[in-house]
Symmetry: C2
Subunit: 292 residues, 2 copies
């Protein structure tokens, strides 16, 4: 019986969170840890020490990093790779911060004027692992929701909507704030918002949330769900889906359910994927290809 | 020679600013004052004293108030009048906070789910004074930009876009903040933003402002003008103008020039009106009609 040998450490390092995985040669996760150690909490010269600490816990192994850690605010400002781009394109441009030992996966730039850092690993991993089709449309909701059009297993093009960030700005800082303290969940109010947001004018629909509360035509407790529906509907509307389209959504259960509901309102179907599975599948293949 | 007799005091009282006018019987402004005494700076029981102080400066005369002073946060929560509504409809529903002496003009509610307080006076005044046609489209830009469709001199319907507020949120609190410190003026960047915003997805276009700065395809100093163009273009796009439409814009020179530029990008023409003239013309007629 062959012993499973730990092969490398994969780190998904964003602005506010970090996940590290001990991954064996076959791509299986042996251990995982999640910490609030986003790069914004790490001093400029603190990245090597952070990775050393992770190695002290998970093993003295090569490490492959992805996400905003490869930006100007991170460990090194790694040049973007342009779309179309696949596993091999990323592998050919990994950036070695510690030669042969610690690499950062580059982000992607779409010539239409968009950028991503980190989500490319999930998108390519989802397809490479057979979780999503090689020519489908994938969506990764969040603060900045990413939509990727895949072609032949590569990311052909992508775009970003600042859906989650806009919701946070409205809830925390706007004149709507008093009306957005309610729970956000799929339901009548959310779907009414999504239907309006698909085609309507976003800035008009947002103002009318306050008007509806003042006029008593929508309860304040429903307003946050409606507002989320408007923003996610606007986001889905921007994707200009064909009727009956199937979208593979990489998200947790909560956001995944909201996007599935908005996509249903738009006449599209949803397949939900787990982001950790997709990330590990992607970074394992990038690591193998970069070592080849 | 007939002496001109001061007839009443007109007060345009918003959340953060207040303007008071001493207006004669013919509707001419004899004196005017502007103060930062928006209603948010006045305690709930302080409105009568504020008006008494204005009377001590402008004369012991009847006062007619309009704006957010008639909201739940103001002196009294005056019920909205529903559209369609004209001068006589507002005059019939002025709310007397001091019988025969101090009145508040009601705001308007559009059954489609929108509200305004204060702008209705300018819109109706602009038409009544012959500054705008009785069946035109009027626009009053600002924190919350108002669009009013006039019919036979009344406000037939209206809608609001939170254009100015969204720009402030993005500049002050968003991940775009670092890119939005530049000057906003009409020019190539503003018009490119307006053209994109007319039809594009707002939340995608906003994210790409940051991407363009990172990719070096737009200078950071042009980004604020571009962002303003996107938001105002989105606002204008929501108005669904017919080709060659003429829009009467009630605004100061700076905002008026920006809206005129975005309207030009949309193929529409602009006539700019002064908001003080429109306000005084409107409130003078409401006062005369309420006294009739």
């Amino acid at each position: 019986m062959t012993e499973t040998i730990p092969a490398f450490i994969a780190i998904d390092w964003g602005s506010t969170n970090r996940r590290a995985y001990l991954v064996d040669q076959a791509g299986r996760v042996l251990r995982a840890e999640r910490e609030g150690k986003g790069l914004l909490s790490v001093p400029d010269d603190g990245f090597a020490a952070e990775v050393a600490a992770i190695r002290s816990r998970l093993g003295d192994l090569p490490a492959v990093l992805a996400g905003m850690v490869g930006s100007a605010r991170g460990w090194a400002n790694v040049p973007y790779v342009r779309t179309p781009a696949g596993i091999d394109d990323l592998a050919a441009h990994v950036y070695w911060v510690e030669a042969g030992r610690t690499a950062i996966v580059p982000g992607l730039a779409d010539p239409a004027g968009d950028v991503m850092r980190g989500e490319e690993v999930q998108f390519l991993g989802a397809v490479a692992a057979g979780l999503a089709p090689p020519d489908g449309l994938l969506c990764q909701p969040g603060t900045h929701c990413k939509w990727a059009r895949m072609a032949d297993g590569k990311i052909a093009s992508f775009s970003t909507a600042m859906t989650g960030e806009l919701f946070g700005l409205l809830r925390d800082h706007s004149l709507l704030a008093d009306f957005l303290s309610g729970d956000v969940h799929d339901g009548e109010a959310f779907r009414a918002g999504a239907a309006a947001g698909l085609h309507g004018s976003l800035s008009t629909l947002l103002f009318r949330i306050r008007a509806a509360a003042l006029l008593g035509s929508r309860s304040v407790e429903d307003s946050a769900a409606y507002a989320s529906g408007v923003l996610i509907g606007h986001d889905v509307g921007g994707a200009q889906l064909e009727p009956g389209a199937n979208v593979h959504v990489i998200a947790d259960a909560h956001l995944g359910a909201l996007y599935a509901a908005a996509l249903a309102v738009a006449g599209a179907n949803t397949t939900r994927l787990d982001s950790h599975d997709a990330f590990v599948a992607g970074i394992h293949r990038i690591w193998k290809a970069s070592a080849a």
